[in-house]
Structures are given as C-alpha cells and as structure tokens.
Amino acid sequence: MDLIWLIPLLPAFGAALNGLVGIRFFSKRAAGLVACTLMGAAFALSLWAFWGLLGLPAEGREHTVRVAPWISSLPLQLSDGTIGSFDIPWGFRLDPLSAMMILVVTGIGFLIHVYSVGYMHGEPRGAYARFFAYLNLFVFFMLMLVLGDNFVVMFVGWEGVGLCSYLLIGYYYTKKSASDAGKKAFIVNRIGDWGFIIGMFLIFTTFGSLDFRTVANAAGTMPVETAGFGVVSLITLLLFVGATGKSAQIPLFVWLPDAMEGPTPVSALIHAATMVTAGVYMVGRNAVLFTHAPETMQIVAIVGVATAFMAATIGLVQNDIKRVLAYSTVSQLGFMFLAMGVGAFAAGAFHLMTHAFFKALLFLCSGSVIHAMGGEQDMRRMGGLRKYLPVTFVTMMVGTLAISGIPPLSGFFSKDEILFKTFLSNKVIWGFAVVTALMTAFYMFRLMSMTFFGGYRGPAWETGGHGASSAAAGHGKHGASPAVAGHGGHGASSAVAGGGGGGHGHAGASPAVAGGGGHGHDAASGGGHGGHGEWHGPHESPKSMTFPLQALAVGAMLAGFFGIPAALGGDNAIEHFLEPSFVARTVVAEHTTAPASAHETGPSAKGASQAMATPGASPAEAAAEHGVAGEASSEGGATHEISWLGEMGLMGFSVLVGALGIFVAWRFYVKAPEIAENLARRWAGPHKVLSNKYYVDEIYDATFIAGTMASARGLWTFDARVVDGGVNGTGWLTMFSAWFSHLIDKYVVDGMVNLVGAVLEESSFVLRRVQTGLVQNYALFMLFGVFAFVSVYLFMR
C-alpha cells in the first residue's frame, strides 16, 4: 500500500510517453498499447492496494503516504490570531472512499481506453497518440484528485481534470462548436474553482491545516451549526459552489451538455463516470464539515433534487442521443448531491459507483451506435438497429434497466437507497425525486425505443443493384424490409467485392442471405469503416469496442450487490466499508467499532442524541444523524422511524415507478409513435421550452456574458480616453523639454567641445613633428629618460 503514489504516476508516464514521443513517432498500435498497458498496470496496482486495505481492521482502514514535501511550512496567521504553519506535502491517502474511487477510475478508465482503441481508429496517427496522451493525463489528474490527502493536492488534480476535459472536449479543434464547448466548460469550471479556492483559504484560516483528516477531526470537535449560519456553513457552501462547477449542478450545469462535442469515450470517461463525480467525491470527502453545516446540507439537497428534476425534464425531449445521456448524467449527479444533502453519504458514493458503471456503459453503447451509423447522432434518424447491433442492444438494455432502477440491477439498489434516505429526511424532496426517477425511466426507454426498436429511419447506403431499390422502398415502412434490404445490400456489396454478380442482391430476402450478410458485414467491419470513409450501413462494432461493453454490462448488473440494503436481508456492505471515511476520528487505533467511535467523538454523539430525543426532527438534524452516527445505518432499518414493511413498500413503489416509466415510453414510441407527436403538438409551448433547455444558455448569454462584454467595453473606453490621454500628455511634455535641452546641448556643450577640438588641432599641428612613426625614435626618447634618471642618481648619490 506504500506504493499508492505509483498509481497516478503510471498514467502520467503514459501521457508523457504518448505526448512527447508518441505524437511524432508512435504507430497507432503502439500508442494504444502504451496507454492501455499503463492503465491496466494502474488498475492492477489499485486492486492490490484495495486488497491491502481490506486486510486492515475496519476502523484502521486509512493509509497515508507522504512522498515528498511540497510547500514546507510557511508561517501564516490564522483567524484566531495564532500563527499556523502552511505545510503541504505531496501526500496520498488511501481510505475506503478513495479506494473505491481509484478502483472505479482505473477500472472503468481501463475499459474505456480499450474501447477507444477501436473507436478512434479512424483518426490520423498523430491525433490518435494525442488522444491517448490526453486520456492518460486525465486519469493521472483524476487519481491525484481522489488520492490526495490534503486540499491542495486535491486541487491540483481538480484543476488538472478541468484542463484535460477542456483539451478533450476540444479534441476536434478544427470544429468551431467543439472548441467553443471546450472553452465553455473551462470557463464555467473556473467559477466553481473560485468557490473552491476561497473555501480552501477559509478552511486554512479556520483550522490551520489543509489535511483532510486533520480538518475533519478539528471540525468534529465543533458544535453543529443548527442555529446560525457560521463559518463552517460558509466553508461548505463555498466548497459546494466548487462542486456545482465540476459536477454540473444548477446553476453551472450548462457546460456538460455541450461537452458532448468531445469523442464519445471521453464523454463516457470524463463527463459521465469520473470527473463530473469529483464534486460528489469532494463533498463526501468533507462529510464531517457538511454534517456540521445543516443549512448547507439543506441547500445541497435542494440544489441536487432541482438539478435532477430539471435535467430529467429536459432529457425528455432531446433528440441527440448523446445529449439525452448528458442530461441524464446531470440528473443522476443531482441524485448524488441529493443523497449528500440528506446526509446519506455512503448512499451517494454508492450511487456514484453504480452510476459510473451503467452510465459509462450507456455512453459507450451510444458511441457504438454512432459508430455504426457513421457519425449520425440524431435519434430520429435511427431506429430498428436492434438487428444490426445485437451486442450493443443487449448491453445497452442492461444499462437502461440499471439506470431505471429495475431490480436486481445495480441502479436499483443505489437509487432506492437514496430515495429511502430522502424519504426519511424530507417528504417533499422525496416526491420530486420520485418523479425524477419516473422521468429517468421514461426518457431512457424513449432513447432505447427510438434507437433500437421501430423501423429504420436512417439514410440509405450504397448497395448492389436490387438491394438498393428495395432499401429505398423499405424506408419509413415497417421495420422488417430495410433490414432485409440491408442484408441484401451487404451481400451485394461483398459479392461485388468478391467479383460475384448481383445474384446475392436478388436473393436478399432468402434466409441463405444470412451468410451473405455476415460476409458483407465482415467486409465492412474489416476494410469498410477505416476512417468512416464509405459507409456500408449499420454494423456491429469491432471486438475492442464490444468487449468493454460486455465487461461494463456485467459490472452494471453486479455492482449493486455490494450494497444490498438490510431490508432485503443483506448487510449494507458498502456502507459499512465507506463509513470510516465520513466520520471524524481522533485516533484510529483507540476504538474498535463504529458506534463506539460515534459516541466518543462529541458532535456526532450530540447530533445522534438530538435525533433520538426529538422525533420528527428537522432535516438538518436528521442529516447530521445519518451522516455521522455510524450505528444508525449499521443496525439496519430497525432504529428508523419507519418499519421494515414501510421500507419494503417504498422499494416496491420506486420499482413500480420505474416500470411505469418504461411502460409509458414503450407505449409512446414503439406501439404508437404518433402519440408522442400529438403530445408535442398539444403542449407546443412547454415542449419548446424544454427542447430549448429552459433557455438557460440564452439567459446566461443575455446576463453574464453580455454584462462582461459591456463592462469590458466601458473599461476600454476609459483606457482609450483617460489613460492614453495621460500617456500622450507626458509624451508632449517630454518632447518639449527635449527640444529645450537640445538648444542647450547645441550651443553650450557643443561649443565647448569644438573649442577643445580647435585648440588641440592647432597645438598638434606643431607637436606632430615628433611623431615620426619610427619605433626606434620613440625608444630613443625613452633612452633619454633613462639617461636623465641615471644622471640624477649619479649626482645625488
């Protein structure tokens, strides 16, 4: 476990290799190989570290490695007047939370790297290496972020991932929209980072340290700010601002949808699985602080649910497959923050993990679809792909079910946990959350059905003779014929390639074509989609892409079982595992079990007791209770205000909701597509608003950006008029004085110089006779001198 510092370094090395050498010299194969191997190594290493961590006693699961000092002890004054030492080491800490995170980052990262090898193969060599360099660099920073044992190291990662997301969103920098999106993401993040930085300053001045553990312990001894809005609340609020920036919460969520301009693996890795969850991770990392600031918790919860709801509503009507996923990401993040807000940190983190799995899966599947459609992203031009992309279809279905919260897939457990905790803390928020869940299920299945079910609505592709016409005829009609046409086309094309006649094309309908189809498909996937040049119609993706899909699908199915809630007879394993990361502790070794620790450390016990004392406690206290008191959740539902039955009921209800959403979506988009259009027509107004994403971008343009522009123009005018005026004035002054001094120079100084010159000239006219230019004559004069001296000596002897 002392080697954890190596985990970030491996990808960093890969990035250096690809970025410095690779862009110039590596073949695609080499570049991909380097990136993937190093990621694999990092993954293996993190697994090993994780294993080591499990080896430790439950409460001792925390291991800090100080690689080197970075900023060594600057004396700085603290808020209480004492002088603290600002001392930042390059420290890495492995504890349950970060362990989970590194597993997610490296594991999913590894799969996505593999996926990218196939997905990006169309890129030119240099760009290919560049892509992998960026990707590795991102992973490096992400690992710094999660492993850092103090705010500053975390912040390094924090900024780094921002940078990488900028680079990767703008990966197709020749595309204006892409580079704009990159800038947007970067700038919006800046706002969040501002909050984060201020928060850091405040933390240091308050606690005199930036080490997470120290801060947490220090905060643990402070009273819970139930009454007033104290310094801790302020800190947490600022940190939360940072989180909203990184994790795309209201009001800073606008960048994430645009971020979909980047390559799909990037969207999967950065904008679904890892980076955007950094905010959540950060909140969880400072759970103790947050639990001591109920008001902030409240805000977090509300913002979270609002974001979830809003994003979901927008997701309902989007047509770009990736944008739908983007908005669903935003809304899932909203769920996580909701969890954080109601104090269910473990649940939030749990959802983070499961979400990482199924959302990455979904994105990669969408990538596969886009790949298959030759770059087409609009769902209205897809449909019926089920036949062409069997693997993608199945895996994506798994992902969709997972996100819709259908048991026993992973999404169910995590989301249900969140809903449950929310229900305990605040019914209203719970209501919104449930509706959001419903909508989630709905739009996800809308996506599925528009993509995979129904008839093929996509563009025609070049085929052999008869196949083409039938394909053209088949469009828009029932879904079978285009499929056949497609097969015919495939067969024909391959046949043409093989030198056969159009016969295959004719036989398109006959079952024998399956071979032809497969044949053609091979041809297509082999030479055909090199660089998406000519497009042979939808086709399944190469192995390197489908393998990650399957792997992630398995993950999405099983990830849930880490956290089977007590109600279902499981012990909430992940929650126990993560608990130590969220509570304040003085010394690890001193106590053995979670409840004990909870009782000893003052504030947590206090929070708990309050919760016990007053039933129907305020959400804040409830939050405090759930956040801190380890025993509450560890003893299963028993101590909650509601019974086992109630919990089961809630569970069933949420499942029901999910199912309902699915059914509706199926009804609308598979059974009778016209319904959807009718609805859209009837509710034209809201539909417009939604499909324009509540005009948020426009509002921002109108207010902030326009405002900035205006102020800039004003400043420019000031500069042009006042500052330049002053400069010019001085210029004139200088010129005048120069002219004056020039007069003096000309007549006084030069006069003297000329005088001297004249005198010298006259005198030298006489004296130069001496200057014969004969060395020996000069020597002779010296000799005269010698003679003089010697004679002086002679007579004065």
């Binding site: 130069r768 230019g773 004969l774 060395v775 020996q776 020597a779």
Partner: protein, 100 residues
C-alpha cells in the same frame, strides 16, 4: 676577488649591447633578440645579488623575468609574422603606418 660590482658591470655592458642592438638594427627579429639580451642582463643582476646577499628571492624574480621573456617572445614573433604576411618585410622602418 669577484665582487658584486663585477657582475653589475657585466650586466650593464650586456644591457647596453641590447640597447645598441635595439637602436641600430632595422631587422625587427634582431631587435627582439636584443631585448632578450637586456632581459638576460637583468637576470644576471638578480642572480648575482641573490648569491651575494645569500638570498633566494633574487632567483624567484629571475624566474618571473624568464616567464615575461617567454610571453614577450611569443607575442612579438606573432606580431612579426602577421606583419610579414601583410608587407613582405621585417624592416622596422617600413612599419610606420601610424605616423602622420
């Protein structure tokens, strides 16, 4: 009995020879050699005194004089070569480019 004076007279004579060489010859190489003669005269003085004062410091300075002589010869001959390359002569009377 040889006294210090003998040596001084010797060195004075040698020095004068050098001076005469410098004064009368026009071949610059020979002039340089005459300068070497003078330096040797100086050295003779140093050594003689170090012997008669029973003090080694004189020899030390003789060493320095030799060093200076070496440097002077190197640079001087370098100049002569450069000059010869330009004017095909070593006659000092033709090295009067700097007169009026």
């Amino acid at each position: 009995m040889i006294t210090i004076t003998h040596y001084m007279v010797l060195s004075a004579a040698l020095f004068t020879l050098g001076v005469i060489g410098v004064m009368t010859r026009r071949n610059i190489i020979i002039i340089l050699m005459s300068i070497e003669l003078m330096l040797n005269a100086v050295n003779i003085n140093f050594i003689a005194f170090s012997y008669h004062l029973q003090n080694a410091i004189g020899q030390v300075f003789a060493v320095f004089v030799i060093v200076v002589a070496a440097a002077e010869a190197a640079v001087g001959l370098g100049i002569i070569l450069a000059f010869y390359r330009n004017k095909e002569t070593v006659n000092i009377d033709e090295m009067s480019l700097m007169r009026w």
